[in-house]
């Protein structure tokens, strides 16, 4: 396991290196040379040749790309991602204040998803072909197809405009997060509860469940402590990949609900072609995911003792 984790860690760092190259290259993908791109944004007009070369010299943009990449990476490692073209502020200061709301949103959504979908999956598996099964199957079909922003409109209309229970937007009180979390969570609940159901049904006729029942355990203990942990690995995999989908979704949700998070910040940067911010956000988010994936590998070892001795990912 240690050998395997070591390999995954090195692999993850390798991917991170590739991501840093990709983020750096973004500025070269923009039409025109980087200095001209920056100046066009700043001045709001096409800059003259003299202005462009002056800025290029000042920012070191006239050096060979490899040197610039190394320079950028070294600064990035120190947390210096340059200056936002839109606000003129250092990118890192804004990133710091913007990360928390997104983490809260994504964390709360993941928690909400788990709290609803695991019991729903259990209910469906226990009452196979019964009411619980029908409710969960219907929900999983409809839930995955509802666009989250459309659902958000419906929720705003009902809970904010008609009932006046919850705010339409903003980020001050805990209840501000309820509507975004529910809107983002529904599709994920649909997928997760469906997988939980099928995992549990797969365990239903296994010998270890019969043994657990024969020991005289109450039915709920049989399901929760014997059936559920045995099907946990695919569930963990799905929860992790959903976290990625939630971050994608937060881009739309934060814009809709005016949450001052990373997603909203990113959309502003994309609208403004604010390349330093785009580079930093891509690198940060992908670093976070590489880290999460590494944690997941460790979690697998805890969930399945058989994996602890293994060295290859093929057994997963």
């Amino acid at each position: 396991m240690a050998k395997f984790l070591m390999r995954r860690l090195l692999g993850g760092l390798g991917v991170l290196l590739l991501v840093s190259m990709l983020s750096f290259t973004l500025i070269y993908l923009a039409p025109g040379e980087p200095a001209a791109v920056i100046l066009t944004q700043r001045l709001g007009r096409i800059p003259t040749q003299a202005e462009t070369s002056r800025l290029a010299a000042a920012y070191g943009l006239d050096r060979p790309p490899v040197i610039q990449y190394l320079d950028w990476t070294i600064h990035a490692l120190r947390g210096d991602f340059g200056v936002s073209l839109r606000s003129g502020e250092p990118v890192i200061t804004e990133l710091q204040t913007r990360t928390m709301p997104t983490l809260l949103l994504a964390g709360a959504t993941t928690l909400f998803t788990l709290v609803i979908s695991i019991p729903l999956g259990l209910w469906a598996a226990v009452q196979e072909q019964g009411l619980g099964d029908r409710v969960s199957r219907f929900f999983s079909l409809v839930g995955v197809s509802v666009p989250d922003f459309w659902l958000a409109f419906g929720l705003i209309l009902i809970f904010s405009i008609y009932l006046r229970w919850l705010p339409t937007h903003g980020f001050e009180k805990p209840q501000d997060l309820i509507l975004p979390v529910v809107s983002l969570g529904v599709a994920n609940i649909a997928r997760l509860s469906r997988l939980a159901r099928s995992q549990l049904l797969g365990a239903k006729h296994q010998d270890y469940l019969r043994t657990a029942r024969a020991k005289g355990l109450p039915e709920w203990r049989v399901w929760v402590f014997h059936a559920l942990p045995n099907g946990a690995i695919p569930l963990v995999t799905l929860v992790v990949s959903q976290f990625s989908a939630i971050v994608s979704g937060s881009v739309v949700m934060e814009t809709l609900f005016a949450l001052p998070g990373l997603g909203q910040f990113y959309v502003l940067a994309v609208r403004y072609n604010d390349i330093p911010v785009i580079q930093a956000t891509v690198l940060l988010i992908s670093a976070a995911f590489i880290f999460i994936n590494f944690l997941t590998d460790i979690a697998y070892g805890f969930l399945d003792p058989r994996l602890r001795g293994s060295t290859s990912p093929e057994t997963f």
Binding site: V19, A30, L141, V144, P147, L157, S244, V270
Partner: protein, 297 residues
């Protein structure tokens, strides 16, 4: 399937009609057994045909304004009502479906072509090429789809081509992974080994042994992804970074309608329902295909 019903065995080639009727009955029985699938596929047929035939079927031009009927409720004149500029909602929905489905088709064809080739070559030949390419795919897969797509849109600027390119780059690595993993499983199967032992050429084995076994998995994934790409297009357009107005698109129609949520709910409900129906339809289609191709599950 045909042998399920006695008398279906082809003894009288001239009885084409009877065979057709048998098939029809089978299809009918299948659909009544799976009503949800039937609804989903029915919705899909409506959406796809009305998108393709939008230039012929749409009652009005998508940007034609009827200023006497602004925010009109559904009526015979405007079957789904009109928006704030007096444009016919039904016509706009049809044209919007055309754009979304066309982009989704391009994105997924390119993803399949690029990703499928990479995945196949990597899985088939293995070695350092496999290692190198798959780390490259990990690069794209480590960034959430919309974040990656938006990074490209932010650098290259908004536009239909950029969005198509951005979505393709976000989608193709998943196909490389999928095809590679399938090829790795197939590689060690007896029928492949047998074909190699019998001296089949590489092309023969590829066409007659690998491809038929890959088609099923890929088709199931494709039909699922059409819904996902349509959702992504709507999401990008919703934040103003996808399809640009005045081109009708479901996501942009929703944003335009947001301030009118209370005054004219139909302007919000209809584009959302269109997205919902499309995603739902492709979802059920994908599920039906999966069950049909792999009944054991």
């Amino acid at each position: 399937m045909a042998s399920l019903t006695p008398g279906c065995v082809d003894q009288h080639p001239q009885k084409h009609f009877e065979k057709f009727a048998q098939k029809f009955l089978l299809a009918k029985r299948w659909l009544s057994q799976y009503p949800v699938t039937a609804i989903g596929i029915f919705l899909l047929l409506i959406i796809i045909s009305s998108s393709i035939l939008a230039p012929i079927l749409a009652p009005q031009a998508p940007d034609a304004q009827d200023l006497d009927h602004i925010l009109a409720l559904p009526s015979w004149q405007h079957l789904l009502g009109t928006d704030a500029l007096g444009r016919d909602l039904l016509s706009r929905l049809m044209w919007a479906g055309r754009i979304s489905l066309a982009i989704a088709t391009i994105v997924l064809s390119l993803s399949l072509l690029i990703g499928g080739t990479i995945g196949f070559v990597a899985g088939f030949y293995g070695g350092w090429l496999d290692e190198l390419w798959m780390r490259g795919m990990d690069l794209f897969l480590s960034i959430p789809t919309l974040i990656l797509a938006l990074a490209l849109i932010g650098t290259l600027g908004t536009g239909l081509q950029t969005m198509t390119l951005a979505l393709t780059i976000s989608w193709f690595p998943a196909y490389a992974r999928l095809v590679r993993s399938q090829v790795l499983v197939l590689k060690n199967q007896d029928f492949i080994t047998a074909a190699i032992t019998l001296g089949g050429s590489s092309w023969h084995i590829l066409w007659h042994h690998y491809l038929p076994s890959l088609v099923g998995v890929v088709v199931v994934q494709l039909s699922l992804d059409v819904g996902a790409v349509v959702l992504a297009i709507a999401g990008l357009s919703f934040i103003g970074l996808g399809v640009q107005p005045p081109t009708p698109e479901w996501g942009t129609m929703l944003v335009d309608a947001r301030p009118l949520m209370q005054v004219a709910p139909h302007t919000v409900i209809t584009p959302g329902l269109a997205i919902f129906a499309t995603v739902f339809g492709f979802h059920t289609l994908s599920e039906a295909l999966e069950n049909w191709l792999e009944p054991r599950k």
